[in-house]
């Protein structure tokens, strides 16, 4: 029996949290993540979840408290965006290196300055080297589904890493769409019990956690952590299949959309993929051989899957909703590494910074090979 509701991405994630019923949620408000915590706080206040919400005094403390809770044996979740993620960045790295399986909802929002509350992916890109797992939702349904999957992924003994479920700020967080919720019991059975190797509340077998490491050991710890990130790809694939049995919706590290016989493909993250799919459908009606490769898992980056999916595609364009001044835009850089030596023509464009919309006409121009390096920018668009 389907529970289909009209929910924003933020509300959908709040419902996933209600069903997960985490033990502790330390959290600090920031636009556009606020609908998540406000909706969730009301659900808790009405007794629909038993979570201990800790209204901390900054995002840095939110992630810090999250590590304390997670390593004390509590299933822990939080949410943030943009400046909040930037402020907690120090601790995000530590959460990954301390192998704390925290699940965090990220409402993607541009990093200051200027201060801007709208969507781009610069916040995710800021912490791409932190070792946390980053999954990108295309719409509210995916935001919900990926949040349900996230605790199993984070807590898997081969993984034990924080998982960020990213959804575009305002575009997904604040836009209402039909979302099918799974039954509470299905979610509960799917996520199971929380288990970590060593709890700091274990006084009978005490452990020292968060050590100081000299050059003789630091490198080995970083490799151990990176190996866990690499191992998580296989775990996500398994969980995606298991989830498909329950929900009828499958998830993988990438999503191929009409790539058969495509001579040009666009790669994108997030809600833009949805717009691209519409344009692909229209162009395909006109016989244009175009397609889309959506990246669902940005970290770990699915290099092999990208190379395999685009093997027979002559021309690839990567759309980046973040820039790297003085360097290569982040998604473009990853794809270039994945496709090195493949022989396809690779180009990229930056778009949508600070929430600027990307229109179907812009995407048509991309497929026609006529898009500038900075789509939608007023003024000179070429790179030096």
């Amino acid at each position: 029996m389907s529970d289909l509701r009209l929910l924003t991405g933020g509300e959908a994630v709040a419902h996933a949290m209600r069903q997960i019923d985490p033990d502790v949620v330390p959290v600090y408000p920031i636009t556009p993540q606020t609908p998540i915590i406000q909706t969730f706080a009301k659900l808790v206040a009405d007794g629909r979840a038993q979570t201990e919400i800790v209204n901390v005094e900054s995002e840095h403390s939110a992630m810090s408290a999250a590590i304390g809770a997670a390593l004390a044996g509590a299933r822990t979740m939080t949410a943030t965006s943009s400046q909040g993620l930037a402020l907690m960045a120090e601790v995000v790295y530590i959460a990954a290196s301390m192998r704390a399986p925290i699940v965090m909802a990220l409402g993607n929002r541009a990093l200051s300055g200027p201060i801007n509350i709208h969507c781009d992916h610069s916040d995710s890109m800021l912490i791409r080297d932190s070792g946390v797992i980053q999954l990108f939702a295309e719409n509210a349904q995916e935001a919900y589904d990926l949040t349900v999957i996230a605790p199993r992924l984070a807590e898997h003994p081969d993984v034990l890493l924080p998982v960020l479920v990213c959804q575009d700020g305002f575009t997904i967080t604040h836009s209402a769409e039909p979302v099918e919720l799974l039954p509470d019991s299905v979610v509960r059975d799917f996520i199971g019990d929380y288990r970590i190797p060593y709890s700091v509340l274990d006084v009978r077998e005490p452990t020292t956690q968060g050590p100081f490491a000299m050059p003789d050991y630091y490198y080995e710890f970083r490799r151990q952590q990176a190996a866990a990130s690499e191992a998580s790809a296989a775990v996500f694939a398994e969980l995606g299949c298991e989830f498909a049995q329950l929900a009828g919706r499958a998830y993988g590290e990438v999503e191929e959309y009409r790539l058969e016989g495509a001579s040009t493909a666009i790669l994108a993250l997030g809600s833009t993929a949805g717009t691209v799919k519409d344009v692909v459908d229209e162009l395909r009606e006109d016989g244009e051989p175009v397609g889309l490769l959506r990246i669902t898992s940005f970290r770990p980056f699915p290099a092999a899957a990208v190379a395999a999916a685009l093997e027979n595609v002559a021309s690839v364009v990567v759309l980046d909703r973040a820039d790297s001044p003085g360097g290569t835009p982040p998604l473009g850089a990853e794809v270039a590494a994945a496709l090195y030596g493949s022989g396809c023509r690779l180009s990229g464009a930056v778009y949508g910074l600070g929430g600027r919309d990307l229109h179907p006409a812009d995407i048509r121009a991309v497929f026609a090979g006529a898009a500038p390096a900075h789509i939608g920018l007023r003024g000179e668009a070429c790179r030096v």
């Binding site: 290196s97 301390m98 192998r99 034990l160 190797p197 060593y198 077998e205 005490p206 452990t207 020292t208 956690q209 968060g210 050590p211 490491a213 003789d216 050991y217 490198y219 080995e220 710890f221 490799r223 151990q224 190996a227």
Partner: protein, 92 residues
Amino acid sequence: MAELTPWQHLPVAGAVRPDTAIRPVTGGWRTGERPEADLPACVNCLLCWLYCPDSAILVESEAFNGFDLDACKGCAICAEVCPVGAIAMVAE
């Protein structure tokens, strides 16, 4: 010197169990003097035990029971705080 562990065999996130961890010897920090107790003078007040930064005063059944010279760094605080002057620093 203990052999260094390859990354595959490290505990997850470096969690260390005290019962299995190496305990470094810091007695080598001393620079020529070590504490010595005049047992008949000792009144078992245990102040030295509490003051010692290196937990190097051994106690058995709530009575002074010697110095852990593997830990003692020779700071001489015990000699200084003993209320009956039962500890002296002597040449090593």
